[in-house]
């Protein structure tokens, strides 16, 4: 068992671009679910709309990535309105149904063979990353030797990504300490009470849906930049559910919850994955093949993830950063 490589690969994943993506997606979900109580199960859809718009504009029309990003954000807002207008007047579950369906519609449409001429079908699109690579200030590897090491491109993506995370956290922090944020939290607690106090609940929910969607859109953009390509397989429904896991580990309705959650989630899932890979690999595996082989072992991390999530919900439902006092309440 190579404990050192297990540690380094886990640390690299915890700090790396993938953790950034899930962190941003979870910040969006935090605005939706943590603060406003909106059940958005289609965060992957928001990610995809913006990521795909940016990349498609660059590959099809030779737009700059900035311009594509701007249009992508506009489309994200439009997407939020399409989802929100019919459902936000209804009970919370309707938004959940509509968002999960819409995210799949977007993914299936963009991945359809019919549009492969434009969007590259299931393979997605590549060859847009040149301008982003060109402005990379790093020319060599960066890291702490013996702990983690990132290539020049990866560290550039991370720099941009973690800066976006910092900016997003700042925005969330500033908004949620304001009276505006207080109205969102009140809506989470009881919509009718807020309505009876003269607040336009529908409008606030829409604003929250758009804002959280924009954080999701940034996650979609980072997905494209990380992989230097973009395709439907990056935006499957499990992306949304992993982002929810990240949020719940860190603690919903806490500004830094998604950050802590992303670090912990990716550290643990990589550590578990590497452990089982090593334990079943090689000539004399730690776990004999009659118990499980390498293929089966690759799924063990998800089993443990599910188990961990259950234990978290039972023993610390408020997450790492959650407020213990809230737990003492019989809120519902």
């Amino acid at each position: 068992m190579d404990w050192h490589s297990l540690l380094t690969s886990s640390l690299e994943q915890a700090l790396g671009p993938t953790a950034v993506i899930y962190c941003l997606a979870a910040i969006g979900l935090n605005v939706h679910f943590g603060y406003t109580g909106l059940l958005n199960f289609g965060q992957a859809g928001f990610m995809m709309v913006c990521g795909y718009t940016m990349v498609a504009m660059a590959t099809i029309f030779d737009w700059s990535l900035w311009l594509g990003l701007a249009l992508g954000l506009v489309f994200t807002v439009v997407f939020a309105f399409i989802l929100g207008v019919p459902t936000l007047r209804l009970r919370a579950d309707y938004l959940a149904i509509v968002t999960i369906a819409a995210a799949e519609i977007v993914r299936q449409t963009a991945g359809a063979a019919k549009f492969s001429e434009y969007f590259g079908g299931q393979d997605g699109m590549t060859g847009f990353i040149g301008p982003f690579r060109a402005v990379n200030p790093y020319s060599s590897e960066v890291g702490i030797p013996g702990l983690f090491m990132f290539g020049p491109y990866t560290i550039w993506v991370m720099t941009v990504g973690w800066s976006l995370v910092a900016a997003s956290c700042l925005v969330v922090w500033m908004l949620m300490r304001s009276p505006w944020g207080r109205v969102l939290k009140s809506i989470r607690e009881d919509e009718d009470a807020v309505r009876s106090l003269g607040k336009n609940v529908y409008s606030y929910k829409m604003q929250a849906l758009v804002l959280g969607g924009i954080f999701g859109a940034l996650a979609g953009v980072m997905t494209g930049l990380r992989s230097a390509s973009i395709g439907p397989s990056f935006f499957a429904t499990d992306v949304t559910f992993f982002a929810y896991t990240v949020l719940l580990i860190g603690g919903a309705a806490r500004v830094l919850g998604p950050v802590a959650g992303a670090l912990i989630f990716w550290f643990l899932i990589t550590a578990l994955g590497t452990f089982f890979e090593q334990a079943t690999g090689g000539t004399d595996p730690l776990i004999p093949a009659w118990i499980m082989d390498a293929n089966q072992a690759s799924l063990m991390r998800f089993i443990f993830l599910g188990l961990g999530l259950m234990l978290l919900m039972i023993f610390r439902p408020q997450g790492i950063f959650g407020d213990r006092r809230e737990l003492a309440l019989d809120a519902r």
């Binding site: 908004l175 009276p179 207080r182 009876s196 019989d330 809120a331």
Partner: protein
Amino acid sequence: MPADSREILGDDAHDATPAAPEVDVAAARRALDDVPREPGAPKPDPILRAQGVVRNFGGLKAVDVDHVEVQRGVITALIGPNGAGKTTFFNLLTGFDRPDHGEWWFNDKRLNKMAAYRVSRLGMVRTFQLTKVLSRLTVMENMRVGATGQTGEKIWAAWQPWLWRQQEEDNTRKAESLLERFLLIKKQHDFAGSLSGGQRKLLEMARALMADPELVMLDEPMAGVNPALKQSLLGHVKSLRDEGRSVLFVEHDMDMVRDISDWVVVMAQGRIIAEGPPDSVMGDQRVIDAYLGAHHDVDLTEAQAEEQILAEAKAEIAQDHAEEQQ
């Protein structure tokens, strides 16, 4: 209590938004002397009027109010047996439900199809039968949400604290004086979810007052409150009137109705069946019938009772039989 509370409330409580106009309570009550004691009677100075409001739930006509007016500056009680449509009527008036037809006015402003939050902004703020406190917000935050016209509640201003800090401080001071009056000041940093049932009722009432409403609509303010707290709640409701607000409340508790209301409106099966001052209404035959059934004072002898039960049972069996055959 009323005089004290006014003092505690102080003048600054009325700074942010124009308060309810000062009304002479005695004069408002005297004005009701000449109002005929009959359903739908016109009032000299109505703050709320409703005309032909009907709400059907499937085949059931839950509310069918021909005409009703609520006098300004007094406490009006809306009573009636369970299922009379009181709460539904309340929901219709406050925009939480839409009637099938009908019109109603608040201060001569027509409220038809107006969203609940707009109704509230006009100065007609309600509370709920099942108390709705915002559990995972502190008591103070609950109060602050109640304030109207907050600049910081707009998203473009929210991230610029210097635009709303002053207003927030004013609201906090106002909330503090209200919490003091409603004896919740020691709880201001606790989560509202940790309050007892009675304290929640108080908080809900105090929160409604943050908006400086002209008309306070209380849906069963005494439901689930212990007798000791009931007295204090009664005092609070009276103090609302004494500071010039109009109060309309739904209630089951007859002692409370008798004790504090200036005018009583009785509903049964969706209709207004009687109106008048508490004493005259309590003696009204229609009201007694509505509550106790039309034949409650007719004694049945044992033989008659047996006969009647037998007849009813027979009729029921016959009906069941007929239904089976269909």
